[in-house]
C-alpha cells in the first residue's frame, strides 16, 4: 500500500442504505465504474467529490474517508 492511500466506507454505507452503484453514480454525476474503483481503493477522489459523497450519505466526510484503515465492525470497544 502506498503512503497516499485513502480508505473509505462507501461499500458499507451503500449496502446499509440499499443503494446500487449506478444509483449513487447517477446522483453524483460520475461514471458508475468510478464508484467501483473508489470502493476498491483504486481511485482517490478529489476533495469536491469526497465532500459530495459525504453530503449524499448525510454524514461528515471523516465517516466516509480516512487516511488509516477503518477498524473492522465489532473490533471497536471490544475490550469493554
Amino acid at each position: 500500500m502506498s503512503a497516499e492511500d485513502v480508505y473509505n466506507r462507501i461499500t458499507v454505507l451503500r449496502a446499509e442504505r440499499g443503494i446500487s452503484r449506478r444509483d449513487l453514480a447517477s446522483a453524483l454525476g460520475v461514471h458508475y465504474q468510478t464508484i467501483g474503483y473508489l470502493e476498491r481503493g483504486e481511485y482517490s477522489p478529489s476533495l469536491f467529490l469526497a465532500l459530495r459523497i459525504a453530503a449524499y450519505f448525510e454524514v461528515p466526510v471523516e465517516v466516509v474517508f480516512s487516511l488509516k484503515p477503518f477498524p473492522r465492525l465489532g473490533s471497536e470497544g471490544g475490550a469493554r
Binding site: S20, R21, R22, G29, V30, H31, Q33, T34, I35, G36, Y37, E39, R40, E42, Y43, P45, S46, F48, L49
Partner: protein, 184 residues
C-alpha cells in the same frame, strides 16, 4: 444559442455514447489481458505504417514500393479499425468525448494518457531530428533527396500516431472494471 459545429459535435457524441455499450464486442475487451492484446495489435498496426515509410525511403519511386506500401497500409487499416473501435468501447470514450461528458477519474486517466503520449512522440521527434542530422552529415552536402512519395504517407502516419497513441495507452492501463452490483 449553439452553433452548427457544437450541434454536430453533440449529435456525434450522442451516437458514440449509444455505441459504447455494444455487447457484441464484449468478448474482445472484458479482461485486462484481452485489452492489452488489442493494444499490442494496434501498436503493431502503427509499426506497420512506420515500416511502410522505410519501404518508401529505400525503394521509391518504384512499383514495388507502391505495392508493398499499399499492402501494408491495407493490413494496418484493417487491424486499426477493429482495434480502435473495440478500445473506444472498452475505455468508455475517454480519449474522444468532450471533457463535460467525463467525470474526474476519466479526466485524470485522459490527462495521464495524453502526457505519456506526448512524452513518447517527443522521443520520436528527437529520434527523427537525429536521423535527419545523420542523413545530412552522411550526404556530404547541404542537400538530401527525399522521395515525394514519402510526404503524404509520412504526414498520415504522424497524424495517426498522434491521434491514437493516447487510446492505446488508456487501453493498456485500464484495470478490470468492478463487477456490477448483481455480481457482487
Amino acid at each position: 444559442m449553439k452553433g452548427w459545429w457544437a450541434r454536430q459535435r453533440e449529435a456525434q457524441e450522442r451516437r458514440q455514447l449509444a455505441r459504447l455499450d455494444d455487447p457484441r464486442t464484449l468478448r474482445w475487451r472484458d479482461t485486462r489481458a484481452k485489452r492489452q492484446r488489442l493494444v499490442v495489435a494496434g501498436a503493431g498496426a502503427l509499426a506497420l505504417l512506420w515500416a511502410g515509410l522505410v519501404v518508401i525511403w529505400f525503394l521509391a519511386p518504384s512499383d514495388t514500393a507502391r505495392n508493398v506500401y499499399i499492402s501494408m497500409l491495407f493490413v494496418a487499416f484493417a487491424i486499426g479499425v477493429f482495434v480502435v473501435g473495440v478500445l473506444q468501447q472498452a475505455t468508455g470514450g475517454i480519449t474522444t468525448l468532450s471533457p463535460g461528458r467525463l467525470d474526474e477519474r476519466q479526466l485524470d486517466e485522459r490527462n495521464r494518457a495524453y502526457t505519456t503520449a506526448h512524452l513518447a512522440t517527443t522521443a520520436g521527434l528527437v529520434v527523427l531530428v537525429a536521423l535527419s542530422l545523420q542523413a545530412g552529415r552522411t550526404s556530404g552536402g547541404l542537400t538530401i533527396t527525399i522521395p515525394l512519395a514519402l510526404i503524404y504517407p509520412g504526414a498520415f502516419t504522424l497524424a495517426v500516431t498522434h491521434l491514437f497513441l493516447p487510446l492505446l495507452i488508456v487501453g493498456w492501463r485500464l484495470p478490470d472494471p468492478p463487477p456490477d452490483d448483481e455480481d457482487d
